[in-house]
């Protein structure tokens, strides 16, 4: 009997489009799983020739879910292009507020609307119930909280960037507005409620993980390296810091690297079946040098969190693995909610900081030709790298987005789940569901399109080595 190929397409309740192929050997054993990224965006090419000051507004169009991350990563790179290494306190804190607002709304969207159906109803529940509408029917208070938390984050983005989606706040060297007293007071009204709801969401994610710990240990989990930005003192810092990489055991691979030199330590490999590249740590090589990014890696990599409630939650999380890095794929949900609480605490602190009403918004410096901007986006470390010529036009752009960093891990997670849940050559609903749940843990952003309802038709094809269709299943 010849080798077979199982294709799952499209993958629902992730941001964008993806397709999964599971390759079988002649004994019907899973040999490899591939998450194909079939969309090609071309941003790196078509921003060439554009003026550098336009880039932070232009590149955020990559995404409608976390545009602020691209906006700020590009703005940080353009700070470097105009020779600015230190912003004014008002500018930096406004950008941080924008970023925490973004983190808060994006994590809320993922947890309540995309992932909670899986956690609340179980991976095998009927797809007709296991979606956000089902959550709204059975747990209306949670659905409302999700909407209100997302709205709150969006209001912060509007107050700092001018619009809820695709604003213009960050400009090279600073910011174009401060926070008015009226805007501040409006946001302060609801912050305590947001913190309370974040605590409750964290508890759901934590309790779920504890209750299902044995099952989740085998669910698409594997040991991996972890990469994250950390502050100089080792604290978690989602806006700025140095690069740190650790092994699955917590050993240091590199630490306190200036991210302007990222390309000396991280490279990208191209594979013919995906438009998404495969990044790896150069010193280890492409085979074993891949790593994870995002909430799980950030919590694993940092020494502490500088807000009290999130720090308590981090300690509790790390205690599960005796202080060593946690490598469970499904632990992403728990860590994402630790960050949700951290973001809410940070927003509260910033709203009470009078620097946000300052009027010193922009600084200028000596023009440079090349610069890198990094930020911890909701889904992980985001790299923006640009070269700008003497006419102020961009000549080179390299973007390594968070989901790209998680490319190999997502493939491995799918492979692990397929090995466990595929029996024979029959495609079951259970297999489909589990593969999707594994991918969804990484909150991948496969493009700017969203399919939050989970109602897209799901089609699987079973093909032999010659590409002949053996079986097809759709729902």
């Amino acid at each position: 009997m010849s080798a077979k190929k199982i294709i799952i397409e499209p993958v629902t309740r992730v941001e964008g489009h993806g397709k999964v192929t599971i390759l079988l050997d002649e004994q019907q054993q899973v040999t490899q799983a591939r998450l194909h990224i079939v969309e090609f965006r071309g941003f790196e090419r078509f921003i060439q020739g554009r003026p550098y000051w336009e880039i932070p507004v232009l590149v955020q169009r990559l995404c409608g879910i976390c545009p602020v991350s691209h906006h700020l990563a590009a703005a940080k790179a353009m700070d470097g292009i105009i020779g600015v290494d230190q912003l004014t306190p008002t500018a930096e804190k406004m950008r941080r507020l924008m970023h925490y607002g973004q983190m808060f709304q994006s994590h809320a969207l993922h947890f309540f609307h995309l992932c909670s159906p899986d956690l609340l109803f179980g991976f095998d529940a009927d797809v007709a119930i296991r979606n956000v509408v089902g959550v709204a029917r059975k747990h209306p208070e949670l659905a409302v909280q999700g909407v209100m938390m997302r709205k709150y984050g969006q209001e912060i983005i509007k107050a700092t960037a001018g619009k809820k989606i695709h604003g213009t706040g960050a400009i090279p060297g600073g910011i174009n507005k401060n926070l008015s007293i009226a805007e501040r007071d409006e946001l302060l009204k609801d912050i305590d409620q947001m913190i309370e709801w974040s605590r409750a969401a964290l508890k759901i994610a934590k309790d779920y993980t504890f209750e299902h710990l044995e099952e989740l240990k085998d669910f698409g989990s594997f040991e991996s390296n972890h990469v994250s930005l950390v502050r100089k003192d080792g604290a978690m810092d989602l806006y700025h810091g140095d690069l740190r990489a650790i092994t699955a055991d917590g050993e240091t691979i590199f630490d306190h690297l200036d991210y302007q030199d990222y390309f000396k330590y991280i490279a990208e490999e191209v594979r013919p079946w995906s438009y998404m590249k495969f990044p790896f740590i150069k010193s280890i090589g492409p085979e074993d040098g891949w790593y994870r990014v995002g909430p799980l890696s950030r919590i694993n990599a940092c020494d502490f969190i500088d807000t009290p409630e999130a720090e308590e939650a981090r300690k509790e999380f790390m205690a599960v693995t005796d202080g060593k890095p946690n490598n469970l794929t499904m632990a992403y949900h728990w860590t994402r909610m630790i960050e949700e609480l951290h973001s809410a605490e940070k927003i509260r602190d910033l709203l009470n900081d009078p620097d946000l009403q300052g009027t010193d918004l922009v600084v200028k410096g000596e023009r440079r030709e090349e610069s890198v901007g990094l930020i911890e986006a909701p889904r992980g470390t985001l790299f923006h790298h640009y070269k700008v010529d003497e006419n102020d036009q961009v000549t080179m752009a390299n973007l390594i987005v968070s989901t790209t960093n998680n490319n190999t891990p997502m493939n491995l997670a799918v492979e692990g789940v397929a090995r466990k849940y595929l029996s024979g050559t029959e495609i079951t609903e259970g297999l489909l569901n589990h593969v999707e749940v594994a991918i969804r843990a990484y909150d991948p952003c496969l493009s700017c399109a969203t399919h939050a309802l989970g109602k897209m038709p799901l089609e699987i094809e079973l093909r032999d080595a010659e590409g002949e269709l053996l079986d097809r299943k759709a729902r």
């Binding site: 003026p51 336009e54 507004v57 105009i82 001018g162 400009i171 174009n176 006419n391």
Partner: protein
């Protein structure tokens, strides 16, 4: 001869000085006739045709047509609205107008005109023409993707700056704004303080001062709160 002459716009009686254009008389009376190539500091040329009105049954460009005693002018009618909407639509599809990352957004007269006329998407197929960006000047940049050939820069350079930096060259679909014939902007004597480089001269985001970008936040831009023409209608 009477001091002032009288005519009507959409049935409203308007007074005009002798020699005054319909557009200027309408402005003075608080009636807005949409326009793009007309600018109060420049001589009118009747190029964009957005200000076309029906005068005694015949279409005329209000920016160049002198007012006359007893004229009957139709301006804000369904027919003229449709006509202007089509012209604006064509300007969008003949260029590459990406408002979402254009720094002129909120201050752009073409965008503001589209909003005033309720245009949310073009009805004609986009032409996606291959246009250049000229960033050779140290302080001013031209993005031809956004040019609507209004020639306000040409007239500002000649009439206000006493220079001849910009010219209209070519014919038909190949028409474009040239700088010193077919040179680059960096080779001209354009100064960043010239009126031709002033952001109020170029109605769109074609001629922009470098390194300004998005300094003005959303909410403080010219058309963020009121549609284009409001300042005239308020009198």
């Amino acid at each position: 001869m009477a001091d002032k002459l009288k005519f009507t716009i959409d049935g409203v009686e308007v007074q005009a000085e002798h020699g005054q254009t319909i557009l200027d008389a309408a402005d003075a009376a608080g009636i807005y006739i949409p326009r793009l190539c007309a600018h109060p500091d420049l001589k009118p040329i009747g190029s964009c045709r957005i200000c076309t009105v029906v005068v005694n049954g015949r279409p005329q460009a209000a920016c160049v047509q002198p007012a006359a005693e007893g004229m009957v002018v139709e301006n804000d009618t369904p027919e003229m609205l449709e006509h202007r909407r089509n012209l604006i639509d064509m300007m969008f599809v003949e260029g590459n107008h990406f408002c979402m990352f254009c720094e002129k957004s909120g201050n752009c007269e073409l965008q503001a005109m589209a909003y005033r006329f309720g245009i949310t998407a073009p009805q004609y197929p986009s032409q996606f023409p291959d246009k250049d960006v000229d960033a050779s000047h140290p302080d001013v940049m031209m993005d031809y993707n956004r040019c609507i050939l209004c020639t306000r820069c040409v007239r500002a350079s000649q009439e206000l700056d006493g220079k001849n930096v910009f010219q209209s060259i070519g014919r038909g679909f190949g028409r474009k704004i040239g700088v010193n014939g077919r040179q680059a902007l960096g080779d001209t004597d354009l100064n960043v303080d010239d009126r031709a480089a002033d952001p109020t001269i170029c109605p769109v985001g074609c001629i922009i001062k470098k390194r300004v970008g998005f300094e003005v936040p959303i909410g403080e831009r010219k058309f963020d709160h009121e549609p284009i023409g409001s300042e005239i209608e308020k009198g």
